[in-house]
Symmetry: C2
Subunit: 587 residues, 2 copies
């Protein structure tokens, strides 16, 4: 079987003609085939990654990578992705197009101007509203097929508020997905240029790169210049839901002075982003004035940017947080576009020392209250969580959040389980992420090796996503997800049977697995050798074990006969044949 | 403050004249100072790493790196480390020197021939025997000072078999340390050449490299040529306990044919290694003939090398495992040298599918039985554990092991929590390692990124050790170790106060933390800037939070006054001063 380059960084611009600014395209491994499962209608095509193994079996994996890994798709980042949801939204007939505030700003150079949609006359054009009315939307069916579940299961979870399906009606390009503890644990990757470094093209490439390795959603945390244009590129080219923190852009508009923020300015920013198609928004409405002093005796104060901005505003004005004070009006806006709330934990701990303190849990109580208001108004809600939490305090976070917030999906950053390893916080936090995922967190916000130190580059984005896919999958296994183990089992079978190509193709990162193997045993025959590079041919336990199994199977040795000592004669047979447990090398 | 090179690979041969074959020496960071705490006698000098911070405070860290990081020590790998324990062993007067089997083989080129010791006339020259007799040995006192505990606490834990202090009387070079759930969680690194690749010099360097980053013990798993000489280099240059699997060398002696192994040949090998100074030995005495067929229906059979060798032997001869059959005689040998048993889990699962099955737990029961025999004979015992275990099955492993094996220290490989990420198994397993450590595992055997794929090089050894130090420390925090949090708190304080140099110096890996920061903000002033490279100067939440705290402290705002709304006037004050939450950049 021919294999692609095993370089750890695939060639860019490997896409067909028409590819734009250095986007990575094509299958990760030659044995990976993009396929689409169809639903109840022809325009409902759910992507899956089918891995073809050398024993002629196949393994089907959940696929977040969008059309970029489909060789039949011609990438053009200036045109954006096809608006696959448009017919579905049109058919529902409860939205209208209008002249957006800054429509002219909101298009890519050369792309047609598209007027934004909003719900007609204050109706709730949300997936939550449909679910409650008993309607299974195409989005729900799409997501259900992805999860391997019935559409009705999905509808019920959404109706109960136990899950969300983030899908702004102005982001018709997305492939719908679910966030909820009943489903596969999801991973979010943060990207975003900052005042200090990075460019629009780089951020668009980071989006495609992040979903290539498995990010289920992406947050655009840009804070620098061209924030609107950067976001436009990202949204138009994203098959996954995009999240933002509108407060960051609002703060840019007042030159970085929190006390100059106003509700009106913030509201305008939310509408601007709503029209672009942002699918979920982090809103720090739980940072109440009276909670701010609770952080004064902390070791690391307030480490959430949004939280610190709102705290500074509250202190400067000595007024209640304007996001809290205007929460119903804000909710009406989100409802008109079906934007999902991600209620931010502005007072999350920034050190293991500060974990699970009064400030953190006080805010959580307010987030629970706000979540109930949002759901009453048919707006989807998830709740953000910490942060830095030592392992013995992790479960309390999920349990309290689930109780206080009526089982709304929990969306946590890590948590980091120790503070001593800057440079390795993808690992300190993958430990916490796996555990909190096992106990019920629905989506894990990744942390890269650069956390606390600098801005992630492409390699850091990949390292963060991979660490978090590991955490999420380990959590799926531990939660007893009915199909999660199939991937592990397929890889374990390939390992035991020395099918090296299949091990690489089934690896979360085939490039790295292949490259590491080649470092020690670069020769092609090593890929079919019945041993691995660690122990060499004479010492391979897998090989001895395989021989034991073959011996036992061929001679009818089973557990019972072994127990009743029926193996003595068989042992003589084995010895008579030379007691060979090693076979000549296949080459 | 001057800082050393921030290259990720420090210069080799940076040691004083006399340094040998490319060993990495010198402090990891210029702010790290090697110090020695003294005990009740002058020759009891316990190493610690004191980190000098820019605010004139210091943090004292546990130090495994040996004399190699002491600038006052002149390294000579051909001479080996000073035999600091010799006077202690001499004083006890219960050992004798004799002509070892292959003494001439067992010395480094140019080094003086040292005759090995053994206990006189069948006495138990073990730390366990002394602990039971109420004697606090210098080794116990040394280890107690390292842990910050009283010698009596240590003696009690050893006497009860809840902890071990691996210290072969022929390895006088070690700095004694403890393995037990009452103490800091320890990390083992495996090194060892194989038939396929690597050299003696490389393995010696890997030892020094592994302990530099925090390995508490090192296992030499060499299987290739020159196995005896490689081990001699490693033992003579190791300040940490060295473990081996004697079965590997025994198998070399019969050209890799398990069925040709005999008890006599194995026993000779153990004595040979005992004379060299191996501190603990993995012995797969629990792989009983009747357990082998229990693995036939597994997905990945037997993945322990030792386990598969013994299984093949049992099947070939249809006799009981000769290690089990001769266990008391073997124990007498280990007792004569104070070698600690590491009872191997030859039937550990090699895939998440096979975790916690009948074969695994059947063997565990036998290990419990053997542990009781060993302790009755005054020989120290730890028990090895899995392997590959999904998260929800991890706790059962510790609980059962502690119950069945009378709280003997548990020593686990990982466990890996999923099988899908070859190339990243340091992460899949650090998750499991942290959890199993929290629940009571005493020592974690590291896994490198090359696991399942190839042999670890220097970078892999470091990556594996760092991932496992994270897991071990996270476990110490979660166990509520009384001093573990001091390290995190010091780093969190430095982070909140923008003391960048201190953050680097306190990092588990200062080189990487510094290099990552410099990638984004290379200018020297950035190291004193009151913001970090992620958000830039305008957006720094830590900075806003710091301003909030300063504001609150200066004006007497506290939690109570905030609750009673006493902040209204203070808010006016804040606004009157311009509401400044950002200060001009310090440069």
């Amino acid at each position: 079987m021919s294999t692609p380059s095993n370089a750890s960084t695939p060639a860019r611009n490997s896409a067909p003609a028409g590819a734009g600014t250095g986007i990575t395209t094509g299958a990760i491994s030659a044995a990976h085939h993009k396929q689409y499962l169809t639903g109840s209608r022809d325009d409902l095509r759910v992507p899956v990654r089918t891995v073809h193994l050398t024993d002629d079996s196949t393994v089907r994996l959940y696929d977040t990578s969008g059309p970029y890994t489909d060789p039949a798709y011609e990438v053009d980042v200036r045109r954006g992705l096809p608006p696959i949801r448009d017919p579905w939204i049109d058919e529902r007939g409860d939205t209208e197009r209008y002249d957006g505030r800054i429509a002219a700003l909101g298009v890519l150079p050369g792309a047609p101007v598209v007027r934004p949609r909003r719900a007609t006359g204050g109706t709730a054009a949300t997936q939550l509203a449909y679910a409650r009315r008993g309607v299974v939307t195409p989005e729900m069916e799409f997501a259900a097929i992805r999860e391997g579940l019935s559409p009705e299961t999905v509808r019920e979870a959404l109706a109960a508020g136990r899950a969300v399906l983030p899908a702004n009606i102005n982001h018709p390009e997305i492939e719908p997905m679910l966030i909820g503890k009943d489903f596969l644990v999801k991973v979010n990757a943060n990207i975003g240029n900052s005042a200090v470094t990075s460019s629009i093209e780089e951020e668009t490439d980071k989006l495609v790169w992040a979903i290539r390795w498995g990010a289920d959603t992406v947050m655009d945390l840009s804070t620098g210049d061209d924030i609107h244009t950067t976001r436009e590129w990202i949204v138009r080219n994203s098959p996954v839901p995009i999240g933002t923190v509108p407060l960051y852009q609002a703060l840019e508009k007042v030159n970085g002075k929190p006390e100059a923020l106003t509700w009106e300015l913030y509201r305008d920013t939310v509408v601007e982003q709503a029209e672009q198609g942002v699918d979920y928004m982090t809103v720090h409405a739980g940072v109440l004035l009276r909670y701010v002093p609770l952080t004064a005796r902390r070791k690391t104060g307030i480490v959430s940017r949004g939280g610190s901005i709102m705290a500074a505003w509250c202190l400067a004005h000595h007024e209640e947080n304007f996001l809290y004070a205007n929460f119903r009006e804000l909710t009406e806006i989100l409802r008109a576009y079906d934007i999902t709330y991600s209620l931010g934990d502005g007072l999350r701990p920034g050190s293991t020392h500060d974990a699970n303190d009064e400030a953190q849990f006080a805010e959580l109580t307010t987030l629970g209250e706000l979540g109930r208001i949002a759901r009453e108004m048919d707006v989807q809600v998830m709740i953000e969580g910490p942060g830095h939490v030592p392992m013995h305090k992790i479960k309390e976070n999920v349990d309290l959040q689930q109780e206080i917030c009526d089982e709304a999906p929990f969306y946590t950053l890590g948590p980091l389980t120790t503070d001593i390893a800057p440079g390795y916080d993808h690992i300190t936090s993958a430990i916490g992420a796996a555990m909190i995922g096992m106990w019920g967190t629905a989506m894990l916000c990744y942390v890269t090796p650069k956390e606390h130190l600098g801005l992630p580059d492409r390699d850091d984005v990949k390292a963060g996503v991979i660490a978090y896919k590991i955490a999420a999958h380990a959590a799926d296994l531990a939660k007893g997800h009915p199909t999660a183990h199939e991937w592990d089992d397929a890889l374990s079978d390939a390992r035991f049977e020395f099918r090296w190509q299949d091990q690489f193709d089934l690896a979360l990162d085939p490039d790295t697995a292949r490259a590491f193997h080649d470092e020690t045993l670069p020769a092609a025959p090593a890929k079919t050798a019945h041993f691995c590079s660690m122990c060499g041919p004479k010492f391979c336990s897998m090989r001895i074990s395989s021989d034991i199994r073959a011996y036992a199977a061929a001679r009818g040795v089973d557990e019972e006969s072994a127990r009743t000592d029926g193996m003595r004669e068989k042992s003589a047979e084995f010895a008579a044949q030379g007691g060979r447990v090693y076979l000549p090398l296949a080459d």
